[in-house]
Subunit: 425 residues, 2 copies
């Protein structure tokens, strides 16, 4: 794949790709919902009908996986079979079933003098999406972008490049017959890292870049990009157990938030306990965590009730372990808990366990995170769980889109003003 | 003023300023509307009560104006008197009268399993606002930011620095007694250009930068900033006269859009005429423009009807004159007009004059601009005219905020999830 575009032609290739996307975006902006949904359904059909081709391409990626040093878990996520292709197709049909955000009237009013003003939802335009190696993401991202009226330039991970190519080939094959411009979905035809740098300079043609992957990639993109970026950092998520908490509920929420799935951004990484309940809550919670062999890194006060805990360092409070470790601190007050979370957390998802209404209000108002949970697991911060449908990621930004990014989060708006000859005095 | 902070201390000073703003922003986020409004009213009272001090400070700026090479018009905009201070105070009272966007529930639903989800509007946090020399902007921006729950770091132009300082002194003097943190509004205590660069690196403390001024400044800020930027470029606005247009209406709209105020971003810079009406519309429109001595730069077909026009060059189509010049082209179709606008325009404000419903729909759908006008002057793209209240600028971005930026455009949202012990399966 990487030989498709040679170094000297890279800049030209990237610009032509972006120009084609821009032209497609103008067509996409005014397409009927029916056309977009038809493409989604025909794409789903095509993926299933040609699953043999996709599986054959996937074999090439699997064969190359050891050379990329992929772990067994990563190789398993990379692997496609009939069932997984059917799931990818089902994902596209689910996007078709979601309401079309484009054309939605967000606001509207008539002004003195008779000007009629509508604020109407429109696509952003061209999305540059950089993502890791799971091939299902290729179809998901294409579906979400096109349904929201955007053209997308997909920059998939090299580990899945043949699978991604085979999937995009199917989406493109049905594009024109469905009424969608062919350049609505383009996969970058090179895995050369320099191509990312080229696209990041094209703020005249690309409206937003969405990087999904490790922190290093996201920071590189945020620094180099000349256009807006929607960032998806991992989460250093907290659970705070308040003085009025139901201890059983707290233990159950922490067990779920920490242990149900450890490598995800909405898993709990840090536990804060009000000093008044430390003696009862900590032993009960520790019992749950020990079942999963979670290493506990505790401050001095928490260690009093956790003989097997390791002493936490300052670094632990800011660490997202994404694995079987948790930091634990005792706090004197809800205010101290909130300050700790706003200082060390990553503004992703934080929870309080409490039966005190005022404490719940204080926590939800003052914790500066995309999602704040009361008596529920941090694991619920997810577009699907929230009922928002498919998502292209979970934004840790405050600007434009915060939390789950679905169809609406890939839109802008315009003001449409109708008059009958009005001029300004 | 510029000597208040010396070079070696600049980085420390800027970081301390931003840290104080960040701390204030957490307090501001949960302030009652009443407290914010009390501060706005008390600030208005203080400005009027101490107008002598403000006018004395303004005299220092006026005395320095020749050394900065200010034009007579710029000096007039800089000048403060009792009446203008009363107008600034009235602006703050108007902001107090606007609805508070913070706390607004944008969306809310209950999920299967009983999780109750609210999407609630919250402040962005800390705004870094860079602006030109008009001292009234200092009070306006402070009022808009604080009412929307944000702390603001004001970087005013050096030409008005004494006036701005005197105004901020009054706002700060009443802050604590009103219940607002003192660091909610801070004016950068140096006019050293390097200070801007320092602040632009602080994405950990500043949530958004809003530069207002020349294109060079905005481009510099967009390039250097490590946090999101809301950009306010000038507008290369078009009026397109369709085949079905009422010619009198078209002439009146173009006269208003071009001539009512020439140096503003929503003034018309380019005129497109459908070839079928060129012979009638162009002479009628030219009669209006000649009254204001507007130089017409026309393509070959338009020149046929405009003997006194200059031949337009390719450069003219992309130029924002901000003065008594207009470019004029004849087009074969509405599609050609739309392509011209999307290619050469600045996506700010564009208008069609037509009596054809389908043409109006095509134009408003396909023109990719913040505001699209039908049978109304481009001059109406303005937060006040739209009824949105005070604005901090008119965004030419698509991301986050497009068009007039008022209170709501300075907000984000958070998800608040209430459960009774739910865990994820």
């Amino acid at each position: 794949m990487s030989s498709l575009v040679t170094e000297p032609e890279l800049g030209t290739y990237c610009r032509q790709t972006a120009e084609a996307a821009r032209a497609a975006s103008y067509e996409l902006a005014s397409l009927d919902t029916e056309v977009k949904n038809r493409w989604l359904h025909q794409s789903a059909d095509a993926l299933v009908a040609h699953s043999d081709k996709i599986i054959a391409a996937n074999q090439l990626d699997l064969a190359a996986a050891p050379e990329y040093g992929l772990t067994d878990a990563a190789i398993d996520r990379l692997r496609l079979d009939d069932q997984r292709i059917a799931a990818i197709a089902a994902g596209l049909r689910e996007i078709a079933a979601l309401p079309d955000p484009i054309g939605e009237v967000i606001d509207g009013f008539t002004r003195p003098g008779g000007l009629q003003i509508l604020k109407r939802r429109v696509p952003l335009g061209v999305v540059f999406f950089i993502y890791e190696s799971r091939p299902n993401v290729t179809a998901d991202a294409a579906g979400i972008c096109v349904k929201s009226g955007n053209a997308v330039i997909l920059r998939g991970g090299k580990e899945a490049i043949h699978s991604s190519r085979a999937i995009v080939d199917q989406l493109s094959a049905v594009a024109v017959q469905s009424g969608i411009p062919k350049a609505a979905v383009q996969l970058v035809a090179t895995t050369d890292r320099a191509a990312v740098g080229e696209f990041l300079t094209m703020s005249d043609l690309i409206d937003v870049t969405i990087p999904r992957g490790g922190e290093g990639l996201i920071r590189r993109v945020a620094t180099e990009a000349t256009m807006p970026v929607i960032k998806h950092f991992d989460g250093n998520c907290h659970v705070y157990v308040d003085t009025s908490a139901d201890i059983d509920m707290a233990a159950s929420i922490i067990e779920n938030a920490k242990c149900q799935r450890m490598g995800v951004c909405n898993a709990c990484e840090s536990l804060l306990i009000h000093e008044s309940v430390a003696s009862t809550a900590l032993p009960a919670i520790a019992d749950r965590l020990r079942k999963y062999n979670i290493e506990m890194r505790a401050d001095a006060r928490a260690k009093e009730w956790l003989p097997d805990a390791v002493a936490a360092t300052e670094e632990d409070w800011g660490t997202e372990y994404l694995g079987p470790t948790i930091s634990i601190a005792v706090v004197d007050s809800i205010s101290q808990a909130i300050e700790h979370i706003n200082r060390y957390g990553s503004h992703h998802t934080d929870a309080i366990v409490t039966n005190d209404l005022q404490a719940a209000d204080t926590f939800t108002t003052r914790v500066d995170s995309a999602a704040v949970m009361v008596n529920a697991s941090t694991r619920f911060n997810d577009g699907g769980v929230f009922g928002l449908g498919a998502e292209i990621g979970i934004s840790t930004d405050k600007f434009h889109a915060r939390g789950p990014c679905g169809l609406r989060e890939l839109t802008s708006y315009k003001y449409i003003v109708r008059g009958n000859g009005q001029i300004r005095e």
